[in-house]
Subunit: 382 residues, 2 copies
Amino acid sequence: MKNFSFCNPTQIEFGDGKEKEIGQHLHHNGIKKVLLTYGSERIKKDGLFDTVVDSLKAHTIEYVELGGIVSNPLLSKVYEGVDAAKAHKVDAILSVGGGSVLDSSKAIAAGALYDGDVWDFFLGKSFITKALPIFDIITLAATGSEMNTGAVITNDKTHQKYFIQAQALYPKVSIINPKLQSSVTKEYLVYSASDVIAHCIEGYFTATTHPTLMSKQIEAIITTVMETTEKLIANPNDYTARAEFAWAATCALNGFTYVGTAGVSYPNHMIEHALSAICNVPHGAGLSIVMPAWMKWYYKNNEAQFKRFAKAIFGLDSAVEGIEALTTWFDKIGTPTKFSHFNIEEKTLPAIIDNATNNAIYFGMGEVYTKETITEILKQAL
Amino acid sequence: MKNFSFCNPTQIEFGDGKEKEIGQHLHHNGIKKVLLTYGSERIKKDGLFDTVVDSLKAHTIEYVELGGIVSNPLLSKVYEGVDAAKAHKVDAILSVGGGSVLDSSKAIAAGALYDGDVWDFFLGKSFITKALPIFDIITLAATGSEMNTGAVITNDKTHQKYFIQAQALYPKVSIINPKLQSSVTKEYLVYSASDVIAHCIEGYFTATTHPTLMSKQIEAIITTVMETTEKLIANPNDYTARAEFAWAATCALNGFTYVGTAGVSYPNHMIEHALSAICNVPHGAGLSIVMPAWMKWYYKNNEAQFKRFAKAIFGLDSAVEGIEALTTWFDKIGTPTKFSHFNIEEKTLPAIIDNATNNAIYFGMGEVYTKETITEILKQAL
């Protein structure tokens, strides 16, 4: 195990009805006025918006709305949010939505306390040392953003899908009510499963040291996600499965599984960010296309861990069998494993590859992930 | 999964050499003067004390010493610490030692900001709402106290071994250097393994709901502890095994494995506290005596989970086989499973049973754990 520092101070409020307490948590933290961020107008139809506003009013907390945040969230909207946060002098961001809303909220929280262009943080031109406190009600279990320091935003002008990370971006309080997540479509459920599994395997396979407990914890999360995904496909109203899926999603990227590891990189995310930046496919769907291709290309670099994966997850004996079994499982639940699912043709590949090659440099992986190697990987998904 | 609130804000600094940074962490938190607590004078011989003091001096942090804290730590020493903390107006407690030193430090931290008798907190007469910030260098992996809110103290006058728990008792920064833990004797290593396994199984078996991920995470910790204990018996200088053992010990009781469960109780600890309060046996050794006895007595209340344990840990098919396999493993590593190990005779049992019966009421388990049932359990360990 490598030396590490770890501190995850996010307060999790998990369970049915917890969203009603949001005003109380804000009040307890001395918040008087929030920027209330969300995605589509659906939350106004299904009652969640009213529940939140009632709770804010009960604690005399003012709010300014910022709706219309989209999947693969955009920098232009972040700018809008930063301007609103500054103009209205809010003292916190309250995110009500999935990972896209929360990631946008994190970027806004950092940008609101910064005099320059918030995109500077994404380019590494400036570092986030402070941010407005972030509170959230997470309505989709996938990104893990509710208990970590990261956020991913797409620059709509340059098609760069880049990320920020900073201790100041840990949400102060995250509310996870599995019931609020049960209206997700079957498609987004299986894309989410793919996203969570991707968060698990990036470190599991790329780390140069593998503490046993971390490997076991990651395997526990993967098998839990697989079991609960199948239960939820069969019965979307299975509360226990929904809750276990939600918590597994949070645990997959809250830092605990990666302590003591070394050399972790995110090649699948690096390539997928290019795919969704160019083709605007859902992130989780892009990941299930990239993962089998990457695994086939990569496994000989760490065959022992791929064999461990095959045994622990599928009871199989070889690295290749494990990769095939995961691909088969993705196919079975209905998350895509080929470009053809989204009618992405070979002629689109160069644009994706160019974008991914830039990402590789941005991710600090440019030496291994060249235009040639990325081409080699992506051709496996044709 | 049950609704839950969870927030573990302890900053973990893990790895070789991390103790040299203690002054920096204190300074970063605005600390000018600490009560430096420790156990035996051994830390002055092995250089750790000097390392700590050098780091304090480098950051102009004053210190007042409180040494002589013993295993199964005593209330009389806590009183001494509270008096010293008040008299010298320290602004933090710095614990350098194992779980006993840290638990005493937590009680001192709470007592230092309280006008009444610190024992009030243990009796539930008063509740801990504030405490001096706690920093620690943990030199024995066992109790998990370095990343949780609990502390156990024995009242030397009444022989009550009671506990406190409060959010204010999370250590601010905990330093875990596995190398500092490698001088532990083989006896205390195996007692520690027993302690960690006890922390795992209490909730695993007593909870009335068993979220799958939690069961899997607990199984991951138990098997990691078993594997690394055997490696450390064979080679005490195996750094990787020492590090994995240390982190597993922390994870066993940092709250993560218990979220979403319901009805968790600590019967093994409840009974063992009586055993160590009366006979002053090491806590982990007492637990390995109590656990097999309790498991044999209890398993029919939750046979499915005992069967799961047998399969997941030992690859066996029945509850009873699982209990036997754990007992055999305790015997193999050399942590006791019978009273005879410490020459505790049947005539001593009534005093232990009386104490345990009082504990049961204190733990809120008096209805199930009567004098009769505790007798029935403990007779299995004769």
